[in-house]
Symmetry: C2
Subunit: 429 residues, 2 copies
C-alpha cells in the first residue's frame, strides 16, 4: 500500500482492522465461519454495535420501516447532495466474515477519514455522507434477497416485504420487532450510492490484482416451485402407485444442470435450497419445494433458459405423476453501473497505484437494486482463491485497507468538488 | 360382527371405541392428522394416559431403559409363561391415528376382556399377559425404526440406541429424560408376542375382507448416505467449478426409481428424507444426506439392488464431482412369523366368521424384531383404501372391534390351555 501521507484522506489501517475484528465477533466462530442471518439475534447485536459506533462519531442514526440502518454525517448544508456508502451486515448460514461486513466497515472508516481530513483543512464539504447497512441482502433467511434495498428503491412494496416468512414461518415484521429494528424514519434517496464488496470470484486473485470495478450486472430469474405428490408409506405402497414429489424434484435438478451446459459460460443455474415434506425416512414425500435460480448477463439467454425450464418442470411432474405450482417468481434485469462512478473509481485506484479491472457481477448486490434510482456502483476487493459463502472466505487486512483507501479518495473528491466529479461529461477529480 | 355372547371372551366395543378416541387426542387434529413423534411431548402425554389406564386396571407398569412401556397383568403364577401383546403409540409426522395406536388399544381391551371372562368363570389362567407400547417404531424422528423392540430383542446395543439423535441433534437419551421415561426396569423376554396392526395396504379392503395374518416379512436395507460437495455462491461460481452435493443426490434419487423398475413388484426403493446443508437459495449445497430404503421379500433381489445402488452412488458422485460417505447401514432380513401363532389366528378368525388371508408385510413391525427371540406374529385389520402414514388413514370402529375380538379369542385360548395352543405339533384351541 502507498504511504498514507500521500493520500488526500488517509485512512487508519489499524482502526479499520480493529473494527473488522470487532464486527466479526457477532455470530462469528474462531474458524472463520459466520452465522449472522438477517434479523437474527446476532444480527441485532451487530446492528447495536454499529449504532454505538455512529453515536460515538456523531453520525445521526435512522432506521426505516424495513429495518435498513443509516448513519448520516452532515458535513455540508441540508440542501447539499447526499452520497450513500455501505453494504450489509447479514451473512449466509455458515458463511464468511467479509461478504457484506467488509463494505460497511470500509464505509465507516472512509467517511471518518474524509471528515477528519476536511476538519484538518478547515474545508466545508460539498456533500453529506450516509453510511448504510441494508436489511437482508443475502436472501438466506427470507426471500427475495436485496430485500431492504429493493423496498428502499421502490421496487418492492413495504407491506409485502414485511410479510415474507422464513422456514419456520416467522415474518420479517416479527423479526424486526424482536430485535428492535422496526423503524419509522423516512429516509430520502441519496444522490449516489457507492458499495465496496469482496469480489466473490477469483479473477482478481488469479491475476494478482487487488481492486476491481463492477461495470455490469447479470440478470436473474428466481422461481420458488413446489412439486405436489401424495404422502404414503415407503414400505407397502406399490411403486406404481407412488406420487413422489422428491422424485420430480430430482429430475428437474438434473435437468437444470443440463440446461446450463447448453449455454456455456453465459448461464448459471442452481437449486440451493430444497424443502421436503414431511421428510420422514419411511414416508413418500408429499411436497418438495425448490428454490431455483437462473442467471445470465444476456436477457435473451435468460428468457430462453426459462422457457426450457418450464418444459422440464412439466416433464418432471409427469414422470413422477405429481402436480406442481409456482409459488413465486422474482426477476432482476441485467444492466450496467453508473459510468461516472466507474471513472471516479478508476482515477482513485490509479492515484493509489492500483489497477481497476472491469468485472461483471453475477451475484446480486444492493447497488444493483439502487442503480434503478440513483447513480450506483459496486467495487471489488480480491477474495483469496475467489471463495465466498464459506468460512474460508478471506480478504487480507492489507487488501482491505488498500481498497478502503481508494474508497476514501473517491469520497474525498465528492466532498471537495461535489457531484460534478461523477458527471461523465464533467471535469473529474 | 357375531354376537358377543357366543364369544369365549367378549370384548366391549363401546369401551374400545372410547379408548381409541381418547388416545387420538394426544397429538391428533380434528381432520385425522396425527403428530405424535416418538418421545415428543404428545407422546409423553399418551404414555401417561396409558400408564393411568394400567394403574386403574391393576396392570403393573414397567419402563425399561430404552423407554418401552409395559403393563403386566398377573393372572397365573410367577413361573407361568408370559404372552406379550401390543404395538406402538408413536406416529409419523402428519400421519394417521391408527398406525400403532390401534394395536395398543386392542391389546388393553383384549387382555381386560379375557381377565373379566376368567374371573367370571372362576378359572385360573395358564399364562400372564403383558401389554407393550414400543419406543420409536416409526423411525421418523430417530433412526433406525423399531428401535425399542430391537434393543429389547438384543439386536441393538442400548447405549448406541440412546445416542441416536434427531434432526435437531437431540438424543433419545435426552428425550427419554425430558418426558420422564428413562426407565430402569429389567423386563424379561416373553414366551410369545402378538401384535394387531392396520394392514397399511389395500389387499383386504379391495377384497372386502376385514382380517388377515402376516406370514412373511420383507427384508430391508437402509442407507444413510451423504454426498459431500463444496459450499459456494450460486451467482459468480462458474458452473464447471461447482461441487454440488444436491445434484449428486438428484441423480441417485432418479436412479433408485429406475432400479426398482428393473425388479417389477419384487423391489421397493425410496428416498423419504433428504437433508440439505446449508440449504440457502444462493449457496451451492455442500452436503446432501439421503435416507435410502431398499425393500424386498427376496434376499437375492435385495443384495442385487444394493450392488446396483453402490455403482450408481459412485456414478452420481463422479457426475457432480463430489465425494460421498455412507453414514450408516441398517439391514433387516426377510423371514416368516411363527406358524403356531398363524394357525391360532386362523382358528380364532374362523370362530368369529372371518377369513384370515395370508399377507406379506413390507413395512417393518416390532414383531419382526421380536421374531428373532420368541414366537411372534402380526395380524392385520383392513385400512380404508389401504391408506397409511396419512391423515386419511382409517379403520372403522366395527372392524377394530371385530379384529380385537379375534385377538381376545387367541389370548383366551392361551390363558385357558397355555403355550401348547401355539405349538405347531400340538392340540390347538
Amino acid at each position: 500500500m502507498p504511504d498514507a501521507d500521500v493520500s488526500d484522506a488517509p485512512i487508519n489501517p489499524s482502526r479499520l482492522k480493529a473494527m473488522m475484528e470487532k464486527v466479526s465477533t457477532f455470530g462469528g466462530k474462531p474458524n472463520g465461519a459466520m452465522n449472522r442471518l438477517t434479523l437474527s439475534k446476532t444480527d441485532g447485536q451487530a446492528r447495536d454495535w454499529l449504532g454505538g459506533w455512529f453515536k460515538e462519531h456523531n453520525f445521526e442514526q435512522q432506521i426505516d420501516p424495513i429495518g435498513n440502518q443509516f448513519g448520516k454525517l452532515s458535513l455540508a448544508g441540508a440542501n447539499a447532495p447526499t452520497v450513500m456508502v455501505g453494504s450489509h451486515l447479514d451473512s449466509q448460514p455458515n458463511g464468511g466474515r467479509f461478504d457484506g461486513a467488509l463494505g460497511v466497515i470500509s464505509a465507516c472508516e472512509a467517511v471518518l477519514a474524509v471528515s477528519e481530513r476536511l476538519k484538518a483543512e478547515g474545508r466545508l464539504a460539498a456533500c453529506n455522507f450516509q453510511v448504510v447497512n441494508w436489511t437482508n441482502e443475502e436472501g438466506a433467511r427470507f426471500q427475495p434477497s436485496l430485500l431492504g434495498s429493493s423496498v428502499f428503491a421502490g421496487a418492492l412494496e413495504l407491506d409485502w416485504a414485511l410479510d415474507r416468512a422464513d422456514g419456520d414461518g416467522v415474518t420479517v415484521r416479527q423479526s424486526l420487532a424482536e430485535i428492535g429494528y422496526a423503524g419509522t424514519d423516512k429516509v430520502a434517496r441519496p444522490d449516489a450510492l457507492i458499495e465496496l464488496h469482496i469480489e466473490g470470484d477469483d479473477k482478481l486473485f488469479a491475476s494478482s490484482e487487488r481492486f476491481g470495478v463492477f461495470t455490469r450486472f447479470w440478470g436473474a430469474t428466481k422461481y420458488r416451485l413446489a412439486f405436489l405428490g401424495e404422502q404414503a408409506h415407503t414400505g407397502p405402497t406399490p411403486m406404481a402407485q407412488r406420487k413422489d414429489a422428491l422424485l420430480a424434484a430430482a429430475h428437474l435438478i438434473a435437468d437444470l444442470k443440463q440446461i446450463a451446459g447448453e449455454h456455456g459460460l453465459d448461464l448459471h443455474t442452481s437449486v440451493g435450497r430444497l424443502e421436503v415434506y414431511p421428510n420422514s425416512p419411511n414416508t413418500v414425500p408429499a411436497e418438495a419445494v425448490l428454490f431455483i435460480e437462473l442467471r445470465s448477463g444476456s436477457p435473451e439467454v435468460l428468457a430462453e433458459a426459462e422457457d426450457k425450464m418450464k418444459a422440464r418442470i412439466e416433464a418432471a411432474a409427469n414422470k413422477a405423476e405429481v402436480g406442481f405450482e409456482v409459488r413465486s417468481i422474482d426477476r432482476r434485469r441485467a444492466g450496467g453501473f453508473a459510468p461516472g462512478l466507474v471513472a471516479l473509481a478508476e482515477r482513485a485506484a490509479a492515484r493509489r497505484g492500483e489497477t481497476a479491472r472491469h468485472l461483471d457481477t453475477i451475484g446480486g448486490h444492493d447497488a444493483v437494486a439502487m442503480s434503478a434510482v440513483c447513480p450506483s456502483i459496486v467495487m471489488a476487493v480480491r477474495s483469496k482463491d475467489g471463495v465466498i459463502h464459506h468460512p474460508t472466505e478471506y480478504t487480507s487486512p492489507e487488501d482491505h485497507a488498500a481498497s478502503t483507501q481508494i474508497l476514501a479518495e473517491m469520497l474525498y473528491a465528492l466532498a471537495r468538488d461535489g457531484l460534478k466529479v461523477i458527471d461523465p461529461e464533467g471535469a473529474g477529480v
